[in-house]
């Protein structure tokens, strides 16, 4: 791969996608639009990953975040629709939150701009990420964390199903308590 220019057009586009999507996601008054913009931001982030050569992670990012998390979020918005007016009321003091965030970004940016050249001086050969290596790594060195994550996901699956189950009433909802073999579940399973 030829060395890429620092600020390419492609990067500008995907960064714009990420930032625009994020800003819209947190500022949209319409909650469903906010959820959809979150999906846009996450797709943008996946594109950033792809540009960095992390193909596998980029696809996982879309698979999990767009395919599952964003869909779940809009689904939850649908299920909880109409409880309040279609548009959410504004916070009393949005300024505080925004100010805090801007301040934080200023600090972070200052830190990055002043510290990073020293820290990241060595332009090493771009690392490659073979999926096979990743798998080897996960199943040999990181086996315990992997199992833990599997357990966590299983627990989350069952827990989510139990929490979301209605109190004994008329409407039977599908329970998801049958996928109980966590170790075989790949960590990317969208639940």
């Amino acid at each position: 791969m030829p060395p890429e220019p620092v600020l390419s057009l492609a990067f500008a586009i995907v960064a714009g996608l990420v930032l625009g999507g994020s800003v819209a996601a947190v500022s949209c008054r319409n909650r469903v639009h906010a959820g959809l913009f979150l999906a846009v931001a996450l797709v943008g982030l996946a594109l950033v990953f792809l540009r960095m050569g992390a193909e596998f992670l980029g696809f996982i990012q879309i698979l999990v975040y767009v395919g599952a998390v964003a869909v779940l979020i809009v689904f939850a918005i649908l299920l909880t629709r109409g409880s309040d007016s279609a548009h959410e009321r504004r916070s009393n003091a949005p300024g505080i939150g925004i100010g805090l965030a801007v301040l934080l970004w200023g600090v972070l940016a200052w830190g990055i701009l002043h510290r990073s050249p020293g820290a990241i001086a060595t332009p090493s050969p771009p690392p490659s990420m073979a999926v096979r290596d990743l798998g080897e790594r996960l199943l040999r060195e990181e086996l315990l964390p992997l199992q833990t994550v599997g357990l966590l996901l299983t627990a989350a699956l069952i827990g989510a199903a139990l929490i979301a189950l209605p109190e004994p009433g008329i409407s039977p909802r599908p329970s998801g308590s049958h996928g109980s073999a966590g170790t075989e579940t790949p960590p990317s399973s969208p639940t």
Partner: protein, 392 residues
């Protein structure tokens, strides 16, 4: 011998070599994309006609037979009709989302089709590391489009349809993914070409090693295609668009060309997921027997696709629809455990390589047979055979 097999590859090379070197990758990409954009919608058009004719024959009627020879130009009439129809956007609809939804539904299946190898050396986008993952990732994006369509229409039927669709797609994604995992486990690669290559070893002199000829492959294929039917909203899992209940589901409020796009997207999704099933379990473009290898590889792929479509049409003409809770129960209580068992069977198959062949099938038979019997008993308990008495 290779000429008919490689005709499209050679043709593409010939065309590309006309151009100067710097633009050659671009020309190659354009040609591949153009081929996908031309071939699959064409198959879609033919499929709609054949499906309607076949359904007609199943129902003892001739089906469309007016436009063109034996009605085969019906798709053109339908296309013109949908293009010239008024595009109605409900006033209460969220017009931007309403406009984008059909695009979000159509584009992902097209992307997914790009990574499918349709013949020897014939794949538009070869991802040696992550081909399968790309496919699955692209498939999930459809959910968002469906949601957008259902929500933006501001129609209760659309909303119900979208909620059904999302619940269904999310639940069936899991068995779909898990049944592909067994193939990945045994192939050791996410590359679709490698998966096909892995199936090309010859058994008993004539039979090729399609995954479907192994216990885990057969079960995986069945599970995969059941989940695929659900992912593609095909009967008997067509609840999101159940016309007898919620009119047309999430695309109730679409008309004209946008409606046609939904239709197209649905069929492209069906092709894509069937193509994946062919690649994973049915040997991709490989022939079943070595003596048949003179038939061009791409013919095998599209032939298999046609056979699968025929089966899907047949199922559609026969089966009533499930109910929502049954659909979910089927996914979580049958498909998911079975696909987990299938993973186990695949692992056993892998580690029992030195055993004699029949003995290798034994654990699979036991592991699938016992749950099957249990399900059978549970079903009989729920639905015991009924007898009817007569008034005296």
């Amino acid at each position: 011998m290779d000429a008919p097999d490689q005709i499209f590859v050679l043709l593409k090379h010939a065309v590309v070599s006309w151009f100067p070197t710097p633009v050659q990758p671009w020309i190659s990409a354009v040609l591949s994309i153009g081929a996908i954009l031309a071939v699959y919608p064409m198959i879609f058009a033919l499929t709609t006609v054949i499906e309607r004719k076949a359904l007609g024959r199943i129902q003892n009627r001739p089906g469309p037979n007016r436009v063109g020879p034996a009605g085969f130009l019906q798709f053109a009439a339908d296309g013109i009709k949908s293009l010239t129809k008024e595009d109605i956007v409900p006033r209460a609809a969220d017009s931007v989302v309403h406009f984008l939804a059909p695009l979000v539904v159509v584009v992902p299946p097209l992307l997914a089709l790009a990574v499918l190898p349709v013949g020897r050396n014939m794949v538009a986008l070869d991802l040696p590391e992550t081909g399968l993952l790309f496919f699955l990732m692209v498939g999930t994006a459809v959910e968002l489009g469906v949601f957008m369509a259902g929500w933006s229409s501001h129609n209760k039927y659309s909303l119900l349809g979208a909620m059904r669709a999302i619940a269904q797609l999310l639940s069936y994604e899991l068995p779909l993914l898990l049944s592909t995992v067994s193939v990945v486990m045994l192939t050791g690669s996410l590359s679709l070409n490698a998966i096909i290559g892995h199936q090309s070893e010859v058994h008993a002199g004539v039979l090729l090693g399609w995954n479907v000829f192994t216990p885990w492959g057969a079960a995986g294929a069945v599970l995969f295609f059941i989940a695929a039917l659900a992912e593609a909203n095909r009967s008997p899992f067509d609840l999101p668009e159940a016309e007898s209940e919620i009119v047309a589901g999430y695309f109730t409020e679409y008309s004209g060309f946008k409606f046609a796009l939904f239709f197209l997207g649905e069929y492209l999704g069906l092709f894509a997921v069937s193509g994946l099933g062919i690649t994973l379990f049915l040997g991709g473009w490989l022939p079943p027997l070595t003596v048949l290898s003179w038939v061009p590889s791409w013919l095998w792929f599209f032939g298999k696709l046609a056979v699968l479509m025929g089966i899907f049409i047949w199922l559609r003409g026969t089966l009533p629809r499930l109910r929502m809770d049954q659909l979910m129960r089927f996914a979580w209580q049958f498909l998911l455990p079975m696909s987990l068992i299938n993973l186990l069977v695949a692992a056993l198959w892998q580690y029992s390589t030195p055993w004699p062949h029949l003995l290798r099938w034994l654990p699979a038979a036991i592991l699938f047979g016992i749950p099957y019997l249990l399900y059978h008993r549970a079903f009989l308990r729920q639905h015991p055979p009924r007898t009817y008495r007569y008034a005296s």
